[in-house]
């Protein structure tokens, strides 16, 4: 079994997954001279497989599609190519059961807006080869991000904390404790949050927030992660209309 590595001369990244994440990651990676291979190539990977240095699978919303993408990548790419896959809503270990070459899969916390900051959470599985983690570390370092290794659990660290804050903010709105705008103002000015939770939810996308909470609720099975009905409505409608 050959270890995943980044070829020195070719720096092309294949990015597939949720639109907002593909856009963000493509924009940032191309800013650091990576050639970006368009996500629609997922259906015809064979001819270009040799060109791909690293593959990123960034689907959080549609896990069937995620499974199809990972299976296709695993079949087409040489075993030396690492796959970094968002593992917020389904653990990296569960994902690795979908593919043959489990050693190359590394979980990452990819939630919209987060790649704009300076740290990325990375979760190896029991199967993950150390050199695949090294590919993740080098890739993120090359786009000026540090990595933090965390255990491979649904919700990981920041997505779990942040989505629960947004959920609680929506419960407060639903209960008419304060207006959405006032709740945002209160959290920014009262305890110095970098953004109000509701405006933050809008930027991440309420569909994404809903998917994280839904995964936490299913995985942990606790009442604590019950999703605010108002948040569910907004995720379905795609916007905040109050």
């Amino acid at each position: 079994m050959k270890s995943p590595s980044i070829p020195k001369n070719r720096l092309s990244v294949f990015i597939v997954g949720d639109d907002s994440l593909v856009d963000e990651y493509s924009e940032i990676a191309s800013g650091f001279n990576y050639a970006i291979i368009a996500p629609d190539k997922i259906n015809s990977l064979k001819p270009i497989a040799g060109k791909i240095s690293i593959a990123l699978e960034l689907s959080n919303l549609d896990l069937d599609r995620k499974k199809k993408n990972l299976t296709a990548l695993d079949k087409a790419l040489p075993e030396t190519t690492a796959i970094l896959s968002s593992s917020i809503n389904v653990s990296a270990l569960d994902q690795s059961q979908w593919i043959m070459m489990k050693h190359r899969l590394v979980g990452i916390a990819a939630l919209p807006t987060m790649i704009r900051n300076s740290i990325v959470e990375v979760s190896p599985t029991v199967y993950t080869n150390e050199s695949a983690v090294d590919v993740a570390r080098k890739f993120f370092l090359s786009i000026k991000k540090d990595i933090a290794i965390v255990q491979d659990r649904v919700g990981m660290v920041l997505p779990r904390i942040l989505c629960q804050i947004i959920n609680e903010a929506m419960f407060a709105v639903q209960q008419d404790v304060a207006s959405p705008k006032d709740i945002d103002t209160a959290m920014r000015l009262g305890i110095n949050y970098p953004s109000g939770p509701i405006e933050w939810g809008e930027r991440i996308g309420f569909k994404q927030v809903y998917a994280v909470l839904d995964a936490l609720h299913t995985d942990l099975g606790e009442e604590r992660y019950r999703i605010c009905p108002l948040l569910k409505e907004i995720a379905a409608a795609g916007k905040f209309w109050r």
């Binding site: 300076s118 965390v150 779990r160 609680e168 404790v177 304060a178 110095n192 604590r224």
Partner: protein
């Protein structure tokens, strides 16, 4: 916190009667304001005149009857419902009928505090945040019987102090202390489940989330005992809704005397 509120009110041209049963407590408070303001003058954040003016507008008072001329009373005494209710009940005979009775409580129900007085419609929450002079926010909390007029006057007052006021309905934790619960609660659970270390969780929350402080740094600063009490209060007021349930790590830290920064030991060593 009372002295912090007195300082901001006096700085913004209000005459302030700073009340305590014990005069030494008041004088210590004024001494604290003086030394804090001196530092601000040295750093040229404040003029000498502003400081002198502010201090000249703060008057020590040790009798409740000396407060009868006040247009607004703000209590920031012990977080004990019975003591707060007693204070307002005693005051209401002394003050003018239109005087606002405001409470700076962070954890008790405004409606419950108002329940002992004859005119609950003039009782309102004015929830300031530490440090009062530097934090822009005031939660103006409407009890079930607080009138719109009282709310409006309380908001006007807060704005005259240079604060941004948000209207909040009287519910456990109000807005800030409620919505912030998962910041601590989820971090504690993530730690308890062995997903990441204290240092890693704080690093991720700051580096990936852009927060100024990590949850454990913040709990240490607040005091682990104070944070646990606040969590427990919200939890109990919501009749044990699991969303607000405290974590056994908190209790264990308190039991072992690790109270955070003030005790030298908490999630970090100081």
């Amino acid at each position: 916190m009372g002295t912090g509120i007195a300082r901001v009110a006096a700085l913004n041209k209000f005459n302030v009667a700073l009340y305590d049963i014990n005069e030494t407590v008041i004088l210590n408070g004024i001494a604290r304001i003086t030394s804090e303001m001196k530092t601000s003058v040295e750093k040229q954040k404040l003029s000498q005149e502003e400081m002198t003016g502010t201090l000249s507008r703060i008057h020590a008072r040790t009798k409740l009857s000396d407060l009868s001329h006040c247009d607004i009373i703000i209590e920031a005494i012990l977080e004990d419902l019975r003591i707060k209710k007693d204070l307002f009940r005693h005051l209401e005979g002394d003050v003018k009928p239109e005087t606002i009775l405001a409470t700076n409580t962070s954890s008790l129900s405004i409606t419950a505090i108002a329940s002992g007085v004859k005119k609950p419609e003039r009782v309102v929450g004015l929830h300031f945040f530490n440090p009062v002079h530097a934090t822009k926010l005031v939660e103006v909390v409407q009890g079930t019987q607080t009138t719109e007029e009282t709310m409006q006057r309380a908001i006007d007052f807060g704005e005259k102090l240079g604060k941004t006021c948000v209207r909040v309905k009287d519910t456990p934790g109000f807005a800030v202390n409620r919505v912030a619960q998962p910041f601590y609660g989820e971090a504690l659970r993530i730690l308890g489940e062995g997903i990441a270390s204290v240092e890693d969780i704080d690093g991720i929350v700051k580096g990936e989330g852009g927060f100024a402080m990590g949850p454990f740094e913040l709990i240490d600063l607040i005091g682990i005992d104070v944070n646990l009490a606040a969590t427990q209060s919200v939890y109990e007021q919501f009749f044990n809704d699991p969303r607000y349930r405290p974590h056994s790590i908190q209790r264990q830290m308190v039991d072992s005397g690790k109270l955070g920064k003030k005790s030298g030991k908490g999630f970090y060593n100081y």
